[in-house]
């Protein structure tokens, strides 16, 4: 494994030199040959390109387009490096597997900040270089050693206005109250957000949630289990609502506005008790593009224009306070950390989740299954 790492670094270095013109093509190929890089991969430009591009590992769909236009374009203009995508979804297990296998093909992962806590502790990530990336362009508690939050998404719930004509549910306590608001519910099935929602419904203050009281949260969740179904993806959450399977459902907050517009306001989002989730850019250890280039990429993604671009394209809220300040009054209700929302939302604690995901998720799965 060590040898492999050394060989890859050699080739990457050589590729840098080759690009800069310090090394001729023949020597570069010879070096690749000695390091055991198969000729086809060199011909395909793999090792060569490694030094001159950034590969972003994200979730595909719309996000590829949005990351490309909001961050890729200014990044390429500034550095000359193209931004490429791997859209297979950087779940924690996949990042760990990639780094352990010694075949790292992604430079930056569009992941969660709790992934930075978990994988940073096990040595799977490059630390963030805060000489290049700015701590002032994110929330102070979300600039961590192995990851920095670029955008915020979150969990909120939406309700069917036709199901509750005599008074709308206003917070998580109403969501968990089947007597006052009968009907089916939906929650996220991998625990995150659902646990916080249950605790707030049970009367825990939004800034006193952590460390999460699992037993208390699960008791609340199992109490409405017979009327709850659980989703695993944002589109499933969306479908459960608009297909009429549930009359109140948790959704990803950044998708709420689309659902409201798409249904002409029949479904409404409740921001009281919404849980803001720090989405973070994290760098797998030994990324092919090198640490310097990827830190520059993260710095570009902190810029006001890039962040506002992501907000209008994906609905995800900027972390850069300067960008948040520029959001119009019309858009502000949908920015999870707007001044008005800040008073009612809860902020996710990535450190607690980074250290307790396994226990929380498995306890949750056991409780709902």
């Amino acid at each position: 494994m060590q040898d492999k790492q050394f060989m890859r670094e050699t080739v990457t270095e050589a590729a840098h030199a080759f690009r800069a013109g310090r090394l001729d093509r023949r020597s570069f190929l010879a070096l690749c040959g000695m390091a055991g890089v198969a000729l086809p991969s060199v011909l395909a430009g793999k090792a060569e390109a490694a030094a001159g591009e950034i590969v972003m590992w994200n979730w595909g769909g719309q996000s590829e387009e949005c990351h490309g236009s909001a961050i890729g374009v200014p990044f390429t203009a500034e550095t000359g490096m193209p931004l490429k995508f791997d859209t297979s979804g950087p779940l924690q297990g996949k990042i760990k597997e990639m780094v352990d296998s010694g075949n790292v093909t992604a430079d930056v992962c569009d992941a969660d900040l709790f992934d930075a806590v978990a994988l940073g502790a096990t040595g799977h990530l490059e630390p963030i270089d805060y000489a290049v990336v700015s701590k002032d362009k994110t929330l102070p508690q979300y600039a961590l050693e192995f990851g920095t939050s670029i955008i915020l998404y979150g969990y909120a719930f939406m309700y069917d206005t036709e199901a509750y004509p005599d008074g709308a549910p206003a917070n998580w306590a109403d969501f968990f109250d089947l007597e006052k608001f009968p009907g089916q519910r939906s929650l996220y099935k991998w625990a995150n957000g659902s646990l916080e929602a249950a605790l707030m419904a049970d009367g825990v203050a939004k800034d006193a949630l952590y460390p999460l009281d699992l037993d208390r949260a699960l008791a609340k969740i199992t109490a409405i289990k017979d009327s709850t179904i659980y989703w695993g993806s944002g589109s499933e959450a969306h479908d459960m609502l608009v297909n009429g399977e549930v009359s109140m459902g948790m959704v990803w907050q950044n998708r709420g506005r689309n659902i409201e517009q798409e249904t002409n306001g029949r479904y409404k989002m409740v921001m009281d008790g919404a849980i803001a989730m720090p989405g973070a850019y994290i760098v797998p250890k030994g990324n092919p593009g090198g640490r310097e280039a990827v830190m520059k990429f993260i710095a570009v993604s902190q810029s006001v224009d890039a962040q506002l671009g992501l907000f209008s394209c994906l609905g995800m809220t900027p972390t850069n306070p300067e960008a948040v300040a520029m959001i119009s009054a019309e858009d502000a209700p949908y920015a999870i950390t707007s001044e008005a929302n800040m008073a009612v939302i809860a902020l996710n604690d990535p450190t607690w989740w980074g250290q307790n995901t396994d226990a929380a998720v498995n306890a949750f799965l056991e409780a709902i299954s």
Binding site: G93, K94, Y230, N243, G244, E245, V361, N362, I368
Partner: protein, 281 residues
């Protein structure tokens, strides 16, 4: 030379492939076994958890229960379909086969979402029943264990039909005539002659359905509404989200071992090659 002449030369042709399978498949498999014994710490801790932890016992029980019910229902329904197919004119049989194969080829995701459209709270069936005044509240057909069973049985029926049909088509019709001739009633002929003759097909179909069901992921995950947790989805969560690779590897090993054990037990009672469509004896 004498040794190689005893060896069937066909083995030489498949040798490279066998080697490839051994390296590309056997290697990772050993790796999984190793992982189950070493992560997070060396020992049998992961396997002990199977007995100690209620959550894992519940998981295994749910998986077995769903797979067994799926197998029984698929084989019964598959048997009826195959019986009809074996007893109609050839042109009709071909048309029926086409429908079986079409359903065989439709992606599992498409089927799963179609069931939600048809059977969901706001689906075609529930809306129809409410309109007709037969029910006042929608019936929960999906997003629960019933939904999982509907989706899985629907997916598995072709796997049951094909081997059973093959067995039925192999039956010499004169045996049935002989049975009638000797005075057996139609029901007696079926239970005592026809059914035993189709047993290899039933066992092959049941085996195929059960083994495939064990690894089902998409259908339980979606139609179960998150409340029917089966081994495949649990393994995926342990690998991708909670990073409990040792637990995931242990469950994978247990699943593989159960399938192999199942095949072994069955091989004691019957010739597996016959059931799985190999050489006839």
């Amino acid at each position: 030379m004498t040794r190689s002449s005893r060896l069937n030369p066909a083995w030489l042709l498949v040798a490279p492939l066998l080697l490839l399978v051994l390296v590309m498949f056997g290697g990772p498999l050993v790796n999984i076994l190793w992982l189950s014994l070493t992560d997070p710490e060396p020992g049998l801790g992961n396997y002990a958890a199977l007995i100690e932890k209620d959550s894992l016992r519940k998981l295994i029980w749910t998986t077995l229960r769903v797979c067994l019910i799926t197998t029984v229902l698929s084989v019964i329904l598959g048997y009826s379909i195959a019986y009809a197919m074996a007893n109609v004119a050839e042109a009709t049989r071909h048309r029926m086969m086409l429908f079986i194969l079409i359903s065989f080829w439709i992606s599992v995701l498409v089927r799963t979402f179609s069931w939600i459209m048809l059977l969901g709270r706001n689906g075609l069936l529930n809306n129809g029943l409410i309109e007709a005044g037969l029910i006042s509240q929608p019936i929960p057909f999906v997003r629960n264990e019933v939904g999982v069973l509907i989706g899985m049985v629907h997916y598995m029926i072709p796997y049951a039909v094909l081997p059973i049909l093959a067995a039925m088509q192999g039956i010499d019709r004169r045996v049935l005539q002989a049975s009638r001739n000797l005075g057996a009633r139609p029901a007696q002929t079926f239970w005592r002659v026809y059914l035993p003759l189709t047993k290899p097909g039933i066992i092959a179909g049941a085996l195929l359905v059960f083994i495939l069901s064990l690894g089902f992921y998409v259908t339980p995950a979606i139609l179960g509404g998150g409340k029917v947790l089966m081994v495949a989805e649990y393994i995926s969560v342990q690998i991708l989200v909670t990073l409990k690779w040792g637990t995931a590897a242990m469950l994978a090993v247990v699943m593989l071992a159960s399938v192999l054990a199942l095949l072994y037990i069955l091989s004691r009672f019957m010739k597996l090659s016959a059931a799985l469509g190999g050489g006839r004896t």
